[in-house]
Symmetry: C2
Subunit: 536 residues, 2 copies
């Protein structure tokens, strides 16, 4: 794609933006700027008027998207084509929320039936647990759930859980046991009562090392507390995986499908089971509806009107052409505190690639760093650098209505939520405009790009739209760049090397005299240190 006409045309236009008249403080003054560089869909508004682009660039970006066939690819994805070419799989996260809409349904009706079966099972199971008619060994209703899973098996679910908590009090509290670190296990078990805790094991292959190690700890913990694993364990795994084994009975088991990848799995059973247990199936269904609304928009809206597509194009413009190497995601909402970690995984794992979809090495690797903290916190953390250090684009997120509906007072004449917005607006303007000052330390160069995505509230529908927006944005960026946003071969080498080191450790556990001198110096040094409990 880097040699395509539309890409080269964009590259040729980039230098134009070095000249003073294209400084953002000038550009944003143009009449109609906001109208011209914003898009809307009911419930969500995308303002990219403080990005470093003009109508000509916008047109060129849309042309790039059109020529790339990204929308066609999206359509093929939704219909169940094997768009994950390297792994020869479909990518049907959109089907998981297309329960009532024939527009977004794969051609293979068997797939839809399988999905519907799982969704019904979630509904029935979550109702039984929440009513207390299905209980653990001691016949007490469940109060807590530990989700055992790592990466895509928990980051999205954690984001949605934290977000929905602002409007819905969870009847059952969720805890996340992801890290193989035994201290993660200690942290989680400090907060639960074993009698009333359900453990959900999430692993498609049921071979994920961390998850299996934590499952082993969970089983031993249940046994120490005289509880039966079959009364306290639930599995979410692929049919036929080692976890799908009738000789190891569990309270309930839910199917994971090979056509929904980990980082796109929040709307499948991976998010569905824990979220329905916490908030009720109706809330989870409303969340799915929100996802679906944005999916429909992504599928149907023309390139020039398509919000996630436009966001993907801006990301390409910023990182592949203007040369920014990182992007910040700053939601002005405490409830969205886990959005950045989720998108960090979604984006960096999907797009951090060295080859295109045909396996041909890219001129330079794709992807950029995504990081973020909620505002106003971020202002008091790293915004010093954002304003006066090396620039990076920011994606701000604003929420019109907070979740809190209780009593409150004003401070300096405004409510907290207004103060939050005063700061959000101020930051977008400060980054763009900058400020001259005779003292260089007090001067701001400005011209620092940002977008602002606004949702109306923190309802399940809005959170669903946000989730789907980031999924679609990521997928579109992959399609336009011509890379596969669904595989992750880059995590394999670490696994292979860890497996070799683990083997040596296991040997040494059996036989303390087991020699490790054949290993690489570094590995031998640290294994020795670990076993000795001191360095060297």
């Amino acid at each position: 794609m880097y040699d395509s006409d539309s890409f080269i045309s964009l590259q040729n236009q980039a230098s134009r933006f070095d000249s003073p008249e294209f400084h953002l403080k000038q550009m944003i003054k143009a009449p109609g700027r906001l109208e011209q560089f914003s898009l809307t869909v009911p419930g969500l508004f995308f303002d990219f008027s403080r990005q470093r682009l003009d109508q000509k660039i916008k047109n060129s970006l849309v042309t790039l998207a059109r020529k790339s066939g990204a929308k066609k690819m999206f359509s093929r994805m939704v219909l169940g084509d094997k768009v994950n070419t390297t792994e020869n799989r479909a990518a049907l996260h959109t089907a998981a929320r297309a329960l009532v809409d024939t527009n977004l349904v794969p051609e293979d009706t068997g797939i839809m039936n399988d999905i519907k079966k799982v969704t019904r099972a979630i509904d029935i199971f979550s109702a039984k647990i929440r009513q207390g008619s299905l209980t653990g060994t001691r016949k007490k209703p469940f109060t807590d759930v530990v989700v055992v899973g790592i990466g895509g098996s928990y980051l999205g679910c954690e984001f949605v859980y934290e977000a929905l908590k602002s409007c819905h009090t969870p009847k059952i509290a969720l805890h996340f046991l992801s890290n193989v670190d035994i201290d993660n296990f200690a942290q989680v078990t400090a907060d639960i009562n074993p009698d009333t805790c359900l453990w959900i094991i999430v692993s498609k292959s049921y071979t994920t090392t961390e998850t299996l190690a934590n499952l082993a700890q969970a089983k031993a913990y249940l046994e120490r507390n005289n509880l039966l694993p079959r009364d306290h364990l639930v599995t979410i795994t692929a049919k036929g995986s080692p976890g799908d084994d009738p000789s190891n009975p569990v309270l309930e088991s839910f199917d994971m499908f090979d056509f929904i990848g980990g980082r796109y799995s929040v709307s499948s059973a991976v998010g569905g089971v824990p979220l329905a247990l916490a908030f009720g199936f109706d809330v989870f269904e409303r969340f799915l509806k929100g996802c679906h609304t944005m999916d429909s928009h992504a599928l149907c809206a023309a390139e020039s009107e398509n919000i996630p597509l436009m966001a993907a194009l801006i990301s390409i413009w910023n990182t592949r052409i203007l040369g920014y190497t990182a992007q910040a995601i700053i939601p002005y909402s405490s409830a969205l505190s886990k959005l950045a970690p989720h998108v960090q995984q979604l984006y960096m794992e999907s797009l951090g690639k060295g080859v295109d979809s045909n396996g041909i090495p890219l001129l330079r690797p794709a992807g950029s760093i995504v990081f973020g903290e909620p505002g106003t916190n971020a202002q008091h953390s790293f915004f010093q650098l954002a304003h006066q250090g090396p620039a990076f684009p920011v994606e701000f997120i604003g929420v019109l209505a907070p979740g809190y509906a209780g009593e409150q007072v004003t401070s300096k004449g405004v409510f907290n939520h207004q103060e939050l917005w005063a700061n959000l607006i101020a930051q977008t303007l400060a980054l763009a405009e900058g400020m001259d000052h005779e003292v260089p330390a007090r001067a701001f160069t400005g011209n620092r790009p940002s977008s602002l995505l606004v949702v109306k509230d923190l309802s399940p529908e809005s959170i669903g739209m946000l989730l789907s927006f980031y999924e679609a944005r990521t997928v579109f960026e992959g399609f336009i760049l011509g890379i596969n946003p669904f595989d992750q071969f880059g995590v394999e080498l670490g696994k292979v090397l860890a497996s070799g080191i683990r083997k040596e450790m296991a040997e040494k556990n059996q036989n303390p005299d087991h020699s490790i001198t054949h290993l690489d110096t570094t590995a031998a040094f640290y294994i020795r240190s670990l076993f000795a409990g001191k360095i060297g």
Copy 2:
């Protein structure tokens, strides 16, 4: 400094590292590599053998440090010189933990007396609260503390609290109310019992907008619960600030000093009061001891043996010369999950600058992005990009002994903590070595630099060493680059603009017809949307 001989010499050597013989997979094979490129101090080990440098670069870096006078500056800092030149202040965080060591004590004995007075007051106050002899309005012992503060007033304390929890069960639980978002207030108050909750208001100036807004909510909350603010509020603020006002009585008040900046304040009352309440003063004192051990090392060790100084030099080499634009901090420890957010603030606010200490604009702005999540979680999140996307240096942190001491089982023949280390070792090697493969999608270019910092455990002493290591590393990097790591003028413009917008909102709260058409289009648009509860 960019025109200094030693800096130019480093620049001239950089291209050498493009040639295959300087690929890390070759370099790390050299006999004695680990010994040559590692440093140790009792309790902490720093391995930089997988950084892209050789003895010649190391020597040039040490020369750069020597010529910069960074160690002399550190010494001046410790003695109380006004090294924060732009604000004409000392930077004496090291004095807050130098209680018994005359080596690290400022020349002005009045300062030490003031610090000691506060430390004694923390000891006495925390004992009374923990024993239950000092209680709230309803005469019940306190069980929870809400720390109200933002940025440096909470990030460091939160890091240390989470870290120490792995070995010490808090008698009093800490909660952090930082964000002005009313949903942050809702989250925090959902978890506490008002009768047994103490509120600590942390603000040096007592004018921080977020903190004052949350204080107003806290007071109203206490009143709604028929509790007296003077029984439930504690202040940590500068003498003479609006918070130091006898007509607003509080349960206790602690001094903050102008010679300890927010992001360096964990070892002052800012961290001391909450941490001593949670864990007891003895634990906090052990933490201070750990900080002090590392301070002494930073002060006394020669440049070539100085761990935080060497880490600062490597950061300069990577970001200013090799051209990496971000650094990841990946602790293989759940207990250190808040280390990266703390260092993100410490580093990006201290070093994200556009001018040098004399106020002269830099050739290009200083500082780089710092981000991170604990391993192994990070492996399942953004390590795809770390291995196959655009490269960034990683600082790994390993902990020899976990906090957890309870029962556990093995999985695949190893304990969880061994599995954690197997992965840590594997990742450092995989990034450095890479792997050839005939299928490009399965190939790894390697040559990706990382360091490994090892502490022996999660004791208060070790956590103190880690905290001080990052403080010293940051300060050294500022001194070598010739920038002031203690000021933050870059946050001012946002505050000024927010204040103007707040004023309009306050007017509009009083008078709904208040016109805002004189404002900038963007600001007017969003204020209108916020008041209308819908976009447009």
